[in-house]
Amino acid sequence: MSEWSEAVQERARAIVAQYPQRRSAVMPLLFLAMAQDGYLTEAGMIEVAEWTGITPAQVAAVATFYTMYKREPVGKYLVSCCTSISCMLLGSDQVMHALEEEAGALHGQVDAEGLIGVEHAECLGACGGAPAVQVNYELIEGVTPDKARQLVQWLRKARPETVNTDELQQLFGGTTSFEWAIKEEVGAVGPYPAFESFGSTAPVSADGTES
């Protein structure tokens, strides 16, 4: 019997129906599970196993392969700092250091309050706007160490329900890889990608604040 609410089960059914074989739904369902509990719990993995007809061990084998399935709490806001080659050349190590110091958490850790997780990430595909940082996978380009500190302070103070890439870029970003030009209508509500079928998006109003 599923522990998920009827609404979440509805989402799970829709996800499974997208594939010719239900095992293919493992990855999206793991994100759906994260969206229920804030991170990937053992109960979540067992649930995914039931939906996909494989064993919990097989689900765990998949979950442990990919970096974005967090099997420990990573806070409400997961701050990922790219430290790959292009970002490194433009000072990402200093940005990472500033994030760690301001949050009081080193790579892979969460701050004392359990609010902000910090990690370094491999290339985020924002090399033309290096250094890049993501909050719950919402991108900010052209981040300086000072702006990185301000970002952590802001998350602590404002505690936004939704983080949105345009708002973050405006507050803490600089040069971008290319002209963004188009405003996003939604943002992320937790440390997993904001995508409609996972139910992990929330609308953002026109002025950039969450509605």
Binding site: R23, Y69, I85, S86, L89, C123, G125, A126, A188
Partner: protein, 432 residues
Amino acid sequence: MTYPLLVTKRMTDFPSDSHTLERYEATGGYKAARASVGMTRDQLVEAIKNSGLLGRGGAAFSAGLKWSFLAPARPAYLVVNADESEPGTFKDRQLLERDPHQLVEGIIITAIANEVHRAFVYVRGEYPKPARRVQKAIDEAYAEGYLGKGIFGSSYDLDVVVHLGAGAYICGEETALINSLEGLRGEPRLKPPYFPAAVGLYNKPTIVNNVETLSNLPHILNQGIDSYKGLGHEADTGTFLFSISGHVKKPGNYELPHGITWNELIFDIAGGMRRERRLKTWIPGGASAPWFVPSDHLELPITKDDTAKAGSMLGSGAVVVMDEATCVVRAAERIVRFFAHESCGQCTPCREGTSWLEMILRRIEAGQGREVDFDLLLDVSDNISIGLAWPPRMTTICPLGPSAVSPIISITKYFKGEIMTHIHDGGCPLPA
């Protein structure tokens, strides 16, 4: 000097709404897809083969030829590789965000050419915004009857699903991507037997194409093969998207023809070096590519063949530029660390070798290098890719392991003095 644009033209002309269906259709969108509904597989495959279009994901293999290899069994599947993760590469992100309908149209054309009724777009998990844009474009195409049952009023059905990755570079390798899509760990499969065109997704014939490759298709059909070829340079037809990053004044994505020189690309198009520092070295085609240096390569024309002859590749088009103040040990360590982190762990030479290379580079950078470390770097590399040849010889299922050898070959060849200074002086002469 300006060059004609194809895949970035709409977003350049209409920056505020290039992603919308209205703008897409007002600028000739879906014309090619509509026309291809009435075309046969042979006609479409021949057209793309004759256009000379090479895959833009890194391997630069003929897209039409790849299609022609599709085995006759059905169903067949199309998988769009939008798992862009090669360090230095950010071109597909721009195409996904700024012109998603162009990709959807490319998907429709490819599906018809390969008798595919089910396509999957595998977008890397760290690209939620591009994934949302593509999903929106797909939803709009369904609403218009361009996707779903009986597309464009024909009897042809086509469904497209966006599938998010979850942070594994290796899933950009096509057989790993297929495993990932099947709900398995993203580990590359052995070829043979697992050539996707014969034994791909769910062991069915499968086409795997990159975002930029598919984005070119509407233009090829709309403007005709001769006109498309005319934009390029000899064997390298059409345009090519370069992602330029690092110590240049104007980093970004640039759509260019092949055949210009590295000098023109770095100093004219990308604005030259920041802080007027001198150019030390650059990576011509993504983190997997051996590096170039000004003394040998600056006047070389940028073509697939010239780059291969000089011992490197254009790969995914990612050019990473480093100035004279860059420590090459640190730069190499960062690239090797990437491959060590992203190694799937199946093959011992890669799993163990990349980690050892990372550790050796780290201790050299930290001033704890030993005299033998220079040879040790080469020895470990030789165990991953025997003979340190280009193109690399393989001891592994996929090219990830040998990719980690590229920076080692580069720094030991061009910057031996700098490595030995680290070792002899007990530290980095160029601290960050």
